[in-house]
Symmetry: C2
Subunit: 384 residues, 2 copies
């Protein structure tokens, strides 16, 4: 892949001669190769390289493919019987917000844990970077041990992560994830430092750098983030960029339905939702009706349906994408990985059907093991 | 399993009438059942229950099956290409000691990590508890975030963990583990708070409670622990208990060969070693000769040989045990899990051949996924 069709097209459309277009494309390829090789080996942090690459470039040219904005969370995964969930009134398969005391009580009661960086959009960013997309992430950690873990992991995945950590406030957010014997995950999130993420953390220059900004619905929960959410979308559209949104969780949609409905209609170009989330959004039991409605509201909707694959609706077009069969160990991060594959392929200029396939491949990888971040060479997996 | 043959035999040997033996055995079973059910559901910490169970019992009756003594470490696992190891001069498959600065430098260079509680003997303790053995662990963490993770995980596994954390000194130990594409692990350990573990942390009353104390060779590395090592062995033998030892690592054996040779000969009843460790101990290239020598020095030696299974030598008896085939993902903790299965079965009064089989089953589980602690119901796996 010497350079990407999408970039070529953008450059050509700007009216340069074919020779100049060729040399610009070669230059882009060389920069990117240098960046990849060096961040892969960890010699230089992605953030510094991104700045280097940006110098002298035209800001109307995207220097990131995807900029994710979401909660910066460290996951603590543990296996639990369904009876454990039932005894504590935990809603299997959902995400519940808990406070510091509840987090401590639940942690003491749950089994041995495995810690790994999480956060819905942050997971997507890590997967997309693994696929070769140029990715940034904005989200708030604290200046503590778990915050260092989160920062290390996302940068080590090759993601540009410029948000300053919170000093002297709440600790880094954690999500206590209980994985049932049937591989379903039940999430209990203590938002910690995430509640301070706000409009000030959304740098319009970062937004303008990315082809697509990708927002998680969970970001409606911490109060200050709602303003950041809208500011980010406005800045993206002002810079001629696209806005992608994940509905995140049916209960989260229920908590903020009116805001979601408006945001989907007014600000969303690409929507990710699973069946339950879409039905909750439109308060219906009829998937076909909900799919028909979302088709009129967003340019592209990728609707995931677990083992039934996904349905992509875009204007008059509809694509049915099969799921990739795998041995399911833990469904944590399935939707995040799907969105990552989809957005990575889409921003590389691939077709919507191919983007859906990449989504399915990535989701299958992530659910085949414990934890939400990939454990294999994702590029090889999509055959890219 | 109403009660264990080994316990029955011990009680009967004490000269009580069959009726009293029966009611004592029933009582033991009830206590144990209560303890298991409650620690499984996390309602009561194992430590508190252990104390409850101990009240009024005769101290000459073991109330623990295994007491492990080792380094209390949190693992940070990450995938790495062989070239990453080669560039940094890391010895593939081995364990190297690193200082705080080296740990920071390596952490910054390595890929995204997964954190989980580790430590060789601590891993064994978690596996053995999962098999239904009554287990304790002595080891030093700091009073910090990772220390809390370690304490939570080992207690949540059902292990009694009484050692007080270090306050105001070095942080909790961590091991940066690089997993190669061929599933081999290369470990880089920053010992942190472990270096303060010493004789004072070895409570003779805890030692006297356990049928077997299990020591890791790695404990020779932190200087203060060597005294603890010998004190623990003396206390165990004084109380009529057995001493088990893992040689841990061929390079660790090389660093402390004379001490190991003496300890094996003078204090070890049950020895765990892989091929490389055994050859290093006796400075030979001849496995058969080394096996013949160890047979004369310890009562039982369980010699692990990766996919070739294990060889158990005990007096005149020899047992060849097959490995359990599995898809190998990460060999971290293979030896720890083998020792756990072996010791759990052995302290339950099962045969040496069956103990070897339990070891193989446990090792296969742990190498089939990322990380050294089990992710499945170990009791079901051994069919116990």
């Amino acid at each position: 892949m010497p350079y990407r069709p999408a970039e070529w097209a953008t450059i050509a459309a700007a009216g340069f001669s074919p020779e100049i277009v060729h040399s610009m494309a070669v230059m882009i390829f060389r920069y990117r190769f240098y960046w990849r090789v060096n961040t892969w080996h960890g010699r230089l942090p992605a953030a510094r390289l991104s700045r280097t690459r940006n110098q002298g470039s035209d800001m109307t040219q995207a220097t990131l493919d995807i900029l994710g904005i979401g909660n910066a969370i460290v996951d603590v995964l543990s296996r639990a019987e369904d009876s454990f969930l039932a005894e504590r009134g935990l809603n299997k398969g959902g995400m519940a917000l808990i406070d510091a005391d509840q987090a401590e009580t639940l942690y003491q009661a749950m089994g041995p844990g495995v810690e790994s960086s999480g956060g819905s959009v942050a997971n997507s960013c890590a997967v997309a970077a693994g696929l070769g997309a140029r990715v940034g992430f904005l989200g708030k950690v604290a200046n503590d041990g778990l915050g260092q873990v989160f920062g290390h992991d996302i940068r080590a995945a090759g993601v540009h992560f410029p948000t300053a950590p919170l000093v002297g406030g709440a600790p880094t957010a954690r999500c206590l994830i209980l994985v049932s014997p049937d591989a379903q995950r039940t999430m209990n999130t203590f938002l910690g430092a995430c509640v301070t993420f706000g409009e000030d953390d959304v740098d319009p220059a970062e937004i303008a750098r990315a082809q697509v900004i990708y927002l998680e619905g969970y970001l409606y929960d911490p109060p200050a983030a709602q303003a950041a959410f809208r500011a980010a979308a406005r800045a993206a559209h002002a810079a001629g960029r696209k806005v992608a949104l994940s509905l995140s969780d049916a209960f989260c949609v229920g908590r903020h339905r009116a805001a979601f409905r408006a945001f989907v209609r007014e600000e969303t170009d690409i929507l990710f939702a699973n069946e339950a989330e879409l039905l909750s959004l439109y308060e219906t039991e009829d998937f076909a009706a909900a799919a028909a409605q979302v088709r009129t509201e967003v340019a592209i909707a990728a609707l995931t349906r677990s083992e039934k694959g996904s349905l992509i609706v875009a204007g008059d077009a509809t694509y049915e994408v099969a799921a990739v069969p795998t041995q399911v160990v833990d469904t944590t991060g399935a939707g995040d990985a799907y969105a990552a594959g989809f957005l990575a392929a889409h921003t590389m200029g691939l077709s919507l059907a191919e983007a859906g396939r990449w989504g399915s491949v990535c989701a299958a990888e992530v659910i085949s093991h414990f934890g939400a971040r990939p454990q294999t060479d994702m590029k090889a997996l999509v055959g890219g």
